[in-house]
């Protein structure tokens, strides 16, 4: 089964690496978005006050709206997201969404997809239809699950390898890095792979629903109720939202994450308060429905079935939204270890085959292709992400379609890395792309300080830990790629010196 691991790993490794890198970044999705919208302050406000302020705002902005939804993506969220459905008399181009800060003021931040884009890319990819993208991601994840399980079964020395890391020994070291990062974090990667599949389970396996439901809508209505606005019965003032949110939070003992108001300003109004994404390990929210005119509790929805609870906790474990700072840090580091596992496995494929080449200076096409794709994929994506952050600071704030430009910048830089790898000799391309990545990550805090007036020292002094932490993370990434770059240069020099005597004997 070893050949299965090698070849499945090679073919799907590049995609899995991209999924792991962007998925790992998603553990700091809210912080990345906060950094990418430096106009928004990060002051914390109690969520019932935030929701009440947001409700006041939308009441003024869209008095005839038939429905509002106000979302707060947890305690770490930089602000609230609002959506509403306008009344029938509203012009067709009237706005239907807005971002507010936690005091309920509309945010005029630069247009960006922020950390959300990296999160979505990790299962929807980009530039291709999301439906097929999810299938590609699912096939890669399933292949990984089978590779891990078969690896555990066939691995004879799993305990010994657990404690084995011999650095500076060429191929043996790459194998050790691959084994150490795989085995040490195996439970994590196994958990992430299975729960990732469960997160999109109905996409891959709709037959479990089809077994009991001829009409899929009925399944969703039963499992995840989402009522539509009832018939209107006459004007009535909407009761204050704040006390309803506070009552719901007292009831659950955790913060609210969403408020939906149906028929605001009508006697039939309903206010549905949902629990926050980070209050519970399960990803499935609870909700309470209040009468909008009187503020009285009408009904409660609690996803408490055994299967729902299991599924919800699996998805919750994957997304890690419940995680407090230390656990979140561990999630992030484990994610990095997953990236190292995949990258070292891909590199190992070439390292292992290089000595067997007829002429190591002129490898055959397949070997070259893998090596070039390795450079473009392993270094190119982090390089592109650095460009994504730089583009956020450097593109004109008023540029039309700015969010898309940031994303295009990422992919253009990634493409450039592939082209660079293709046209340069591979050892040089490794050294040069890692050097550029070091410079780009190191440039992020500097460019940010020059363009926003938020520099690292000011952020630390002001206690703006998200901005300070982001800048420090960029420097840490630069240092990480610097270490890799130094090793590559030293290795290339060592290889050149090792070959020199041979060169001298050959006729020039």
């Amino acid at each position: 089964m070893a050949w299965l691991h090698t070849w499945v790993g090679l073919v799907l490794g590049w995609l899995l690496y991209a999924i792991f890198v962007t998925g790992t970044s998603a553990y700091y999705q809210e912080e990345i978005t906060q950094w990418m919208t430096p106009e928004i302050g990060s002051a914390a406000v109690a969520s019932d006050k935030s929701f009440a302020a947001a409700a006041d705002w939308v009441q003024h902005k869209a008095p005839d709206a038939q429905e509002w939804s106000i979302f707060l993506a947890g305690k770490r969220a930089p602000g609230l997201q609002l959506y509403w459905t306008n009344g029938p008399d509203a012009p067709a181009d009237a706005p239907t969404e807005a971002r507010l800060d936690r005091q309920g003021r509309e945010v005029k931040a630069r247009e960006t997809q922020g950390g959300y884009f990296l999160y979505r890319f990790h299962y929807d990819l980009h530039y291709i239809n999301w439906y097929w993208a999810r299938w590609l991601v699912g096939i890669a994840a399933m292949a990984m699950l089978v590779a891990i399980l078969s690896g555990i079964i066939t691995h004879k020395k799993i305990i010994t390898d657990y404690f084995m890391l011999r650095l500076g020994k060429g191929q043996r070291s790459w194998l050790d890095v691959h084994n150490a990062s795989s085995v040490l974090f195996l439970p994590f990667v196994l958990m992430m792979t299975y729960t990732g599949l469960v997160s999109l389970a109905t996409h891959y396996m709709p037959w479990g629903i089809a077994a009991n439901y001829a009409d899929t809508e009925k399944f969703y209505a039963a499992a995840f109720p989402y009522p539509s606005p009832p018939e209107k019965t006459g004007a009535a003032k909407l009761a204050p939202i704040g006390p309803m949110v506070a009552a719901a939070e007292r009831n659950w003992g955790m913060a609210a994450g969403g408020v939906r108001v149906l028929n605001p300003g009508d006697r039939s109004a309903q206010v549905i308060v949902s629990s926050g994404v980070d209050g519970n390990m399960s990803a499935r929210p609870r909700s309470l429905t209040f009468d909008g005119a009187t503020g009285r509790l009408v009904s409660a929805h609690d996803p408490s079935g055994a299967a729902t609870a299991t599924e919800g906790v699996m998805i919750g474990l994957h997304a890690g939204r419940y995680a407090q700072p230390i656990l979140r840090g561990l999630y992030f580091l484990s994610g990095i270890a997953g990236c190292v596992m995949i990258a070292s496995g891909l590199i190992l494929w070439t390292v292992k085959r290089r000595p067997r080449l007829a002429d190591p200076d002129k490898p055959h096409f397949g070997f070259q292709l893998v090596e070039k794709l390795n450079i473009g994929a392993i270094v190119g994506l982090p390089l592109g992400i650095a460009i994504y952050f730089l583009a956020n600071r450097l593109l004109p704030v008023g540029l039309a379609g700015r969010g898309d430009w940031e994303i295009d910048s990422l992919f253009l830089a990634w493409l450039a890395a592939f082209i660079w790898a293709a046209v340069r000799p591979s050892p040089r391309a490794w050294a040069e792309t890692t050097a550029v990545t070091v410079l780009l990550f190191a440039a992020v805090p500097i460019v940010s300080a020059l363009t926003t007036g938020r520099n690292l020292f000011h952020s630390i002094a002001a206690g703006e830990w998200i901005f300070a932490g982001f800048d420090l993370a960029m420097l840490a990434l630069a240092a990480g790629f610097w270490t890799a770059h130094r090793r590559i240069v030293r290795r290339a020099r060592g290889a050149a010196e090792g070959r020199r005597p041979q060169r001298n004997t050959a006729p020039a």
């Binding site: 396996m205 479990g208 079935g305």
Partner: protein, 102 residues
């Protein structure tokens, strides 16, 4: 000698191809039929049974995929999978016919 080696390489490739087809598309069909079966027989509300079966299906798929590359005979593998698939299909059909769907 070279001819024999060539033949064994070709036989090996056919073996791998047959196992791969069994492990991926055939496995998907079998897992889908098994998932329907589990969704019909799990206790609790239909929604709970559907979610439970769907959550479990990846474990079924992964185990069957591994078996496809471990069992000795490819012929037996195909026969067993088709047989199991037909049995599940018949059971699913009877369960839906007698119990109906929402």
């Amino acid at each position: 000698m070279a001819k024999a080696a060539g033949k064994s390489v070709r036989a090996n490739r056919r073996d791998v191809a047959l196992r791969t087809v069994a492990a991926v598309p055939l496995n998907y069909a079998l897992t889908a039929l098994a998932t329907i079966f589990v969704a019909r027989i799990l206790p609790g509300s239909p929604a709970q049974a559907s979610i439970g079966a769907t959550t479990l299906c990846f474990a079924i798929f992964a185990v069957v995929a591994m078996l496809c590359f471990t069992v000795q005979s490819v012929g037996k593998l195909w026969l067993t999978m088709i047989g199991a698939g037909l049995a599940f299909a018949l059971a699913d059909w009877l369960l839906v016919l007698t119990g109906g769907r929402l």
